[in-house]
Symmetry: C2
Subunit: 454 residues, 2 copies
Amino acid sequence: MTQLETYITEHEERFLDELKGWLRIPSISTLPEHAGDVRAAAEYAARDLQSIGFDKVEVIATQGHPLVYGEWLNAPGKPTVLIYGHYDVQPVDPVELWDTPPFEPTIRNGNIYCRGACDDKGQTMLVFKALESLMAVDGKLPVNVKVLIEGEEEAGGESIEHYVRTTPEPLGCDAAFICDTHMPGPETPALITGLRGIIYTEVEVQGARRDLHSGTYGGIAPNPLHALAIIISKLKDEQGHIHIPGLYDKLRLAAQVERDFWENDPLNFAEALREEMGVSQLVGEAEHPPLERISARPTLEVHGIAGGFIGDGAKTVIPAVAKAKISLRLPPDLISKEIFPLFEKAVHDAAPEGVKVTVQNLHGGEGLVVDLDNPAMVAATQALKETYGKEPIYLREGGSIPVAALFNEILHVPVVLMGFGLPDDNLHAPNEKYSLAQFYRGIRTVARFLQNLA
Amino acid sequence: MTQLETYITEHEERFLDELKGWLRIPSISTLPEHAGDVRAAAEYAARDLQSIGFDKVEVIATQGHPLVYGEWLNAPGKPTVLIYGHYDVQPVDPVELWDTPPFEPTIRNGNIYCRGACDDKGQTMLVFKALESLMAVDGKLPVNVKVLIEGEEEAGGESIEHYVRTTPEPLGCDAAFICDTHMPGPETPALITGLRGIIYTEVEVQGARRDLHSGTYGGIAPNPLHALAIIISKLKDEQGHIHIPGLYDKLRLAAQVERDFWENDPLNFAEALREEMGVSQLVGEAEHPPLERISARPTLEVHGIAGGFIGDGAKTVIPAVAKAKISLRLPPDLISKEIFPLFEKAVHDAAPEGVKVTVQNLHGGEGLVVDLDNPAMVAATQALKETYGKEPIYLREGGSIPVAALFNEILHVPVVLMGFGLPDDNLHAPNEKYSLAQFYRGIRTVARFLQNLA
């Protein structure tokens, strides 16, 4: 056993305790009342970087939630890696569906349950513990490292985008590394070669100037909820086709090797996802394989519809206003700023008469395609092989990590997307969890990745 | 000035104070946490009946909220009137849209603002104060009176239905009087000659067994919110036509005089309602006049859609479950128990593949047509003419008062629907109000109605 392996094994319990401490801070970035918690989570990360031995550790104020920066640049002649993670988390509602309190880390069946356990405190903490282990064993890191952690990933990520765009020089590096993705299974290491972008919108429909009683006004009053139903049903049909003129125009045919992989589905992902969801059949565009649909096709989803009455019992109200949260996932060929106006027009065109519709672009981010041949991807491939004993597979991920596209665009560096989440980690849902085995293997893999890169 | 008129004028301020005391009790019948308040509102009513001089006043326990009963039967040879009202109120959300706290009665511009100010505490209290005034001036009432007040009108009214069906004998009477409707304007007295029935349903759609992340599952996962949008858009189209096979089959052509009234709209109601709503145009079935649409056509409305995320900011969740509250208003020819299975089937037929749909009938009630020639309607007509100085008009109301149909069906008596609400009273909405002038005129009108009936 190497010294590094021994150190990690001996400190697993403390590493877990440090993660628990971070998880207990309810750093929900979208809820203003948690702003203090978000800051506390930033300071927690900064203290950890300091104790590891990072220099220039600072909590950087922004217009929104702070960034955490630290650097260790004492490996002259070696490459420099920019490491990204986020310490903010999603809201927890519906809180009644959690088996244990969302901010009380609980161990069950080899998993740690807590909001943020995987996304992204667990994955960020394992990178920190890899850095700590390397530093403790060797007295130094094998490469130069800059760490930049944000607190708005779940809230649009505007501050980090502004920071990277306006302050690119100090972030100069040879590669970026993001630990915020997942593997298909605990024995199937994977690297992400593509990400979808996103547009997240809010569509507001105004009917009458005040809420109305359906007994008095039903039959002549515009009903914003009904108008939203019509708009949504026109935007995406029952077969999963999105009816936004121009949306599919710039979508290029994927490489033959990808199309073969989607078509053949050698690891039987689609069936695993169907079982995971507990549904009798997959829905969506039947003419495209399920793997393509979740990773490389544009998708449109409604996330919530507000307005009117949803309490117990009956209230016969026609609401004055209703709102829907609707997002689009965009493959790399589709640029969010170009697609939003098409979406906006399609919404207006779909609206029935008698209502006023406004469409707000809450945030957007671009997709990404990663080149497999760059040295950082080679080092990551090798590290996964060493830890998991097999070659990783290369996947596109359906989710959106706008900062990956940002690093690619502004810093002009390859972006390694290597994460240790699993498909059943319940991201953004009740009972989010992270596999402890993945947490510990992740520490080993990241340490090896940095060694390989040297 | 008659003694009665003098008495009412001298006591207006105290009458208002008594209403305020009742309004301060937040008797929201659909919210279990307000059960104690609902009971307190019942006891408030019982105390008032006792102080007026009613006999056998009791708060009658039920499976749900209590009924309040009182009688005064010391007018031998005179007709007996059964008076109905309700002391429960609607929920108050969205509470942030109220200009003053919903349970703090506030006087502004000649109106009293409070949840229940009109519906139906204000209207019930004016009947009580008419009874008090008659008793105070004459030492007796001109007719025999039974009062039956319920606390579940906004929550389905199951207890009063059970009570009337199982205990009809003690409720025997010559006419029923319900003060829970409105007039088209403060100078346009009206009597209601028809009511629509209602079915209030909840449609639940289940997709996956847990909430999902749209980045990972978007493209293959059923989205219950999208499924609801499709269902709702199929149930009612943009032109207001309801697509429930069989729904319109039993609808009979209305009398020519009604059709003429709807077509001609001599009081320009439709325009007044359009202005009241603050919309540029009325929506709905263009081939039927607006007045027919709001009073005599079946309507379908969505009242709320639950599921997913509707907070500030962005959460990319595909919810496991979503629910919609959907009601139908039914003209008297359509029977709720016959229509519900048609609705249920239409919902199932409209559902896209890959989701599980259940339809729950939360409550239903029948419509009513009232005969104009019965002595009670004649007495009410005369009373309105005396107070307002002009003949009342006869209207159908689009709303549902299931208890009216129940009295008609079980007690076989004419039902006088004479109320003093105004179209802008914001029933079931923020800033519910009641006109003080209508409150005081209502007291005078009801006292005269009972005198005329003798």
